[in-house]
Amino acid sequence: MSILRAIRDGLRRLTSRASFERDLEDEVEHFVEEEARGATLGGLDPGEALRVARARLGGVERIKEDARAGGWEFVVDTFIHDLRYALRTLRRNVGYTSAAIATLAIGIGGSTAVFTIVNAAFLRPPAEVRAPDELVSIYTSDYSGPPYGSSSYPDIDVFREQTHLFSGVVAVAPRPIGIGEGDDLRNEGLELVSADYFATLGVRLALGRGFGPDEGRTGVPVAVTVISHTLWQQDFGGSRHVIGQSVRLNGRPFSIIGVAPSGYRGAIRGIAISAWIPVPAGALIGNEGGERERGNRSYLVTARLAPGVTVEQATAGLATVARNLAQSYPEAWLDVTRTGRRISVLSEAESRVPPQVRGPVLGFAGLLLGTMVLVLLVCCANVAGLTLARAARRAREMGVRLSLGASRRRVVRQLLTESSVVAVAGAAGGVGLALLVSRGLNAWRPPLPLEVALDLRLDARVLLVALGIAVATVLLFGLAPALRASRAAVSGMLKGDEGAIAVGGRRRVSLQGALVTAQVAISMLLLVGAMLFVRSLHSASQIDPGFAPDHLLLVDVEPRPDLQGPTDEAGVAAQLQRQIGGLPGVTSVSWGSTSPLALGSSRRYIQIDGYRPAEGEDMEYHYNFVGPRYVDALGGTIVAGRGISDADVAGAPLAVVVNEAFARRFWRGESPLGKRLTPSEQTPDQWHVVVGVSRTAKYRSLTEEPLPYLYFPALQEPGHGVVLHVRTAVHPLSVRDAVRREVAAVAPTWQVRSVRSMEQQMGVSLTPQRTAGVLLSLFGLVAVMLAAVGLYGVVALAVAARRREIGIRMALGATARGVVRLVVGDGARLVLIGIALGLPAGWAIARLLGAFLIGEAARSVVTFAAATVVLVMIALAAAWMPARRAARIRPMMALRDE
């Protein structure tokens, strides 16, 4: 009842403001008159009586203000009033408003964009999956020890039997695949999955059904597929009749039985999947899944915990399973330590980032977030500086308000309302900017074998963070100036006394100075970071990869899985070597099962004649199956013996070429030639004899330590794939089409899956450094520019406050040059302090970034010197402009102003 009444009265007061004000006015006036009447009776003349009465009442406006402050409507009303006033004053001051909003939009937009990425990569629970908190990932440890390896299909069946632990267990193996045919052939992502995949994950299909038990039966491939929403839209126009139609996967027609919901892009975060097929159907597209082999661990495992089961219970239960498996299948379950492998369980949230790369990925994300927070701080400092300068210009207004009886709280609230308007506009601009950035990122396709896809939509969490950032910025840039303005000395401000401003302002200028110093320090930090990455990229280009990356074309060729034809890999590769070698512009050709600096590489167990591995020693080494004259085509060097040659064919003595790092590891001080080794699968009478030693090159990344490496003859062990290495005299990409034609002519049933130059491939391997470099340079540039604007602002303000002082100096004979030096000197001091603070911070950053940096960049004094010089130059330019204006002050004008 009374609440209703309060609302009604409040609304009435809000809507009929004028009459409320008139009533209040009348009532107060009545008081005054009655007081005065009393006083006239006491003998005072009426005018004097009225004055005394007013004085006794103690401020008519104050009384009204008290009376107004009664109800909730007052708060709303003040807010509306403040808002209107804020909009009006902000509109009048376009310079400040647009600068502040733009700066905030950059800060908020940038941090929102970064948070969008972090959110999509780590924080957002998987979309379209039922109860994701019940999901866990299961890992079998690798042979050489690392705990988070993939698992084998028969083992996954054993996990599935643990019904007291799991209500469902699914196997997933992502594979690159060609979708479509002819010119429309595209490389996209596919998941080989166990039949219970959609049911266990609880993904509700947009159309059709998931896989049934019949489609998951081992050894019985059924050509059915569930396609992604995107593929459905792109290739089938979103037609509801898509069910039952067929889509070509690696050339083989698959019948479409279902369409995934639009938000669902597969079980592995960051990899966009276009189609799902049952594991046994992998045989149809050239992906033998090895479902019967316990030693073939190529499946990632996701399981749904049974009701009430915790991750710890599941881990404990699977430890028993692991012991039993190691007893029953010692061959597949014993590892290098000769003890059983271990099984690990991670919750869905913990396994969003693949645990093997957790450190670097989180480090990179931290770097990104940290950088962004710094930029945001610079933005806030900058806007705070602008706001302080503006508050100084409004000192008189504040003085009037305070002396007319506005409470300090009221003034602070008014100023904060203005800041909020600016922040809200900045936040809106920022969210718009973030949308643009994330749209740009979504369109960006890094040259990787599988499409990288993060769901970069803005969700409630992102918007909430953007809002939080906006509120924080209001407090950061709005509160300090507001408090300061409201505290100012009334009398000095009213007189417009420059001296009073300078006294109150001495502190204000120094607060602004502190802000600029902080900005310079942060800019220094970012600049150092950016330069480190640029230098690091430069050093990367200086690293000798141990082969000649220029004039080298890499061509992946493979038999088309849909066509029957010769799959005599060795024969086709040898013939391609001859034919392509005869092309004009081509100087030499060979092939390997892989190429250096490609993503992913394999290791195999190596047993060495006469060497007994230490307890727990990792004896798996990286290798490549290569054709004759491979090292020549790669542009590497054979330092002893010979390379793999035409002599190393099936039937000839088994050969191997080791690199210097391998030779040094096992035969230090001896000649490796003639030594013997064998991969584990082979019986010890099949020794490979070391026929040559190659110079150690870079195989997996440019920054790796010297890596022991082995070349086995592909002609003696074919079947591991063919990557042609074509060395050219001309630009490598210019022979691309000729190579394609040769492949089509030599092996009509084969296809070219991918063509790239080695330089392109090396570019991909530097993607993390390049991305970080670009981002930091961008952020650094923004920060430096903001710092320059901030410095300009603070120097300009100082000049305004010291106008009279400068006038007197000039009247007393100071030269224009002297004035410039005075003003620039003040600015320079701030910058130097900022740099002094920024240097050690930059040093710390350089150490933190060490993991990402290549070469000696991290310890380089040159980097720090360069950053310092750049900052000083920019700062001097920013301070010089207002200084020149100061030098033009006419002494008479400045003094007469008073």
């Binding site: 009374s2 009444r5 309060a6 009265d9 009533d23 209040l24 009348d26 009532e27 107060v28 009545h30 008081f31 008159e33 009655e34 007081e35 006794r56 009442l57 103690g58 104050r62 009384i63 008290d66 009376a67 402050a69 009664g70 109800g71």
Partner: protein
């Protein structure tokens, strides 16, 4: 201006206002004067606090107001106590007496 009324506890001012208008409707200044006269100038009422208190009492529904002409023909806002106001005055008076008796006893003891 020595304004001792600021020493009043908030509820007390409300009670004094209600008491002042319990016999006949009064305008704001009249209420102030009546409180001052009857208390023999012990309590001086700040007009701001008084107007604020009227707003509060109106909102609670313990007083109503209307504009009327004063004896010397000027427009003034007259406040009148409602039934609810009378009940509240009675309740507050009892509570006040209970307390002041208790305090008096304590001081005499």
């Amino acid at each position: 201006v020595a304004d001792q009324s600021t020493d009043l506890i908030q509820g007390t001012l409300d009670m004094l206002i209600l008491k002042a208008i319990s016999l006949e409707p009064l305008h704001g200044f009249g209420v102030a004067r009546r409180i001052e006269q009857i208390s023999r100038d012990v309590f001086r009422v700040n007009p701001g606090s008084l107007i604020l208190a009227f707003r509060r009492l109106e909102r609670d529904g313990t007083v109503t107001s209307e504009w009327r002409a004063t004896q010397n023909n000027r427009r003034a806002k007259y406040y009148q106590i409602t039934t609810k106001g009378k009940k509240r005055l009675e309740a507050e008076r009892r509570e006040w007496e209970r307390r002041s008796t208790a305090i008096a006893r304590l001081l005499e003891a």
